[in-house]
């Protein structure tokens, strides 16, 4: 029991620290890209701004719905299944990935419900548009995961990571990696974490108004991006496998932050993709065909190897 409690403590601590650092980094990098200073303070004061911003959210009076509570709970529960490091997980099951993906999809659905519920008109607005966007992003992502599962013949994160001891899965599935990466990028655009995408008004997944519900929305947005990056790391980049003399946990952190910084810069670089129709078009014309091609190639190789024993 104590071990579990300690693990829960570690996971919450790691999540909290990383959330703080990433929210600071996100603001700083976005502002430096635009040649601004960001967080309007001096060097000494600026690290305190994420904390003061969170206080600002709490101070505003705004009622929150049942969906916000569900989002908050699910975005934390998600981390009990996905392993951050080789021993940092609470539920150890051979169907880890299956449960994690179901929780992730549920979280996205709750997020769509929460965002669609408007305080001002008391009806569910733009629900279909938002659902179409999220679904169009989930389908190619699931195809990528499926091809990895076929490749490694397992739904367990541990097995998938251990099978990459020699070569990472990027070597076998570069198309899948690119597709997954673009999916995360678009998901990041939908979350609108940099708060500068004013054109993406209809169909985005950021909450209107100020208050606790908005804070929960941003919190879950960050955790969804974390989840996807950790998934990318585990599925394609070797997870917590150690590289030469570098420790596995350090390698995870290094990879996580490298991917995150590249994603933040890319999100600002791809400024043309803004708006409901463009994201849907990009999904169904580029990402979905790529993921399907990747899946077909994987299945063909699987059949050739395991049924006909050619390769």
């Amino acid at each position: 029991m104590l071990i579990y409690l300690r693990k829960i403590g570690y996971i919450i601590l790691i999540l909290g620290i990383n959330l703080y650092i990433v929210s600071f980094l996100n603001n700083k990098i976005v502002s430096r890209i635009e040649l601004r200073r960001g967080y309007k303070g001096y060097k000494k004061e600026s690290p305190g701004f994420p904390f003061s911003n969170s206080l600002k959210y709490i101070a505003k009076e705004n009622p929150f719905s049942i969906w916000d509570i569900l989002i908050f709970v699910f975005s934390i529960v998600l981390w009990s299944i996905i392993p951050v490091s080789f021993n940092l997980f609470i539920v150890d099951s051979s169907y880890n990935m299956f449960i994690a993906l179901i929780l992730f999809i549920l979280l996205l659905i709750f997020k769509v419900f929460s965002v669609s519920y408007s305080k001002y008109n008391f009806i569910i607005s733009d629900f279909l548009k938002r659902t179409a966007q999220t679904v169009s992003l989930i389908i190619p992502l699931l195809f990528c995961v499926l091809s990895i599962v076929i490749l490694n013949k397992s739904l367990d994160f541990k097995v998938i990571v251990n099978s990459q001891y020699q070569y990472w899965n990027v070597v076998y599935q570069p198309i899948g990696f690119i597709t997954f990466f673009i999916c995360i990028l678009l998901q990041m655009k939908l979350m609108n974490l940099s708060e500068h995408n004013q054109f993406l008004i209809t169909g985005n997944t950021s909450k209107e108004g100020e208050g606790i519900s908005r804070m929960v929305s941003r919190f879950s947005g960050y955790l969804i991006i974390f989840f996807l990056i950790v998934m990318l790391n585990i599925l394609y980049l070797g997870g917590w496998q150690k590289l030469y003399m570098i420790n596995g946990s350090i390698m995870t952190g290094l990879k996580f932050y490298t991917i995150l910084i590249i994603l933040i810069i890319l999100e600002k670089s791809v400024s043309g993709i803004s708006g409901f129709n463009k994201i849907i078009n990009l999904n169904y014309k580029l990402i979905l065909p790529l993921s399907v091609i990747n899946l077909i190639i994987t299945i063909v190789f699987f059949i050739l190897k395991n049924v006909y024993f050619i390769i």
Binding site: I29, S31, R32, I33, E34, L35, R36, R37, K40, Y42, I265, L266, K268, S269, V270, S271
Partner: protein, 142 residues
């Protein structure tokens, strides 16, 4: 696709560039040469008298009607008697400087001019002469 890569490298390079914005009250803005600040009356360095003779060309040229000039006739010559400038109305267009034949008016580099009441923004002849120290640009450079 190439444009995305180009944008990516430009954005990445921007991380290491100096920010363009300034934290204004804490840091002073670097004023560029030829920028238009508060107008001032110039003195003749030999005689230490005002060059302006009160012809009123600047008053006619002012689009905001913020200048009013009064001249007086003494010893077969016109002299400047009174010169009023309302900075609350002035748009710092520089028409008065261009209109002056004697080059008696100049725009200094002074830009921090906020006051608590409108009356203190109305300047007289002596106030405008006292602005000489703001004519040097390096005074405001950080």
């Amino acid at each position: 696709m190439l444009r995305i890569f180009k944008n990516f490298f430009i954005n990445f390079a921007n991380l290491f560039r100096k920010p363009r914005t300034v934290l204004y009250p804490r840091e002073k803005i670097i004023i560029y040469e030829g920028s238009r600040g508060q107008p001032r009356l110039k003195l003749n360095f030999d005689t230490l008298e005002i060059i302006c003779n009160g012809c009123g060309d600047c008053e006619k040229a002012c689009p905001q009607d913020c200048i009013s000039v009064r001249k007086e006739f003494r010893e077969d010559k016109y002299y400047l008697d009174e010169f009023y400038l309302n900075l609350g109305l002035c748009s710092f267009c520089g028409n008065c400087v261009e209109a002056c034949k004697f080059r008696a008016i100049e725009q200094s580099y002074r830009y921090q001019m906020s006051e608590y009441d409108m009356e203190s923004l109305k300047m007289e002849k002596l106030d405008l002469i006292k602005q000489a120290e703001y004519a040097i640009r390096d005074f405001w450079v950080k």
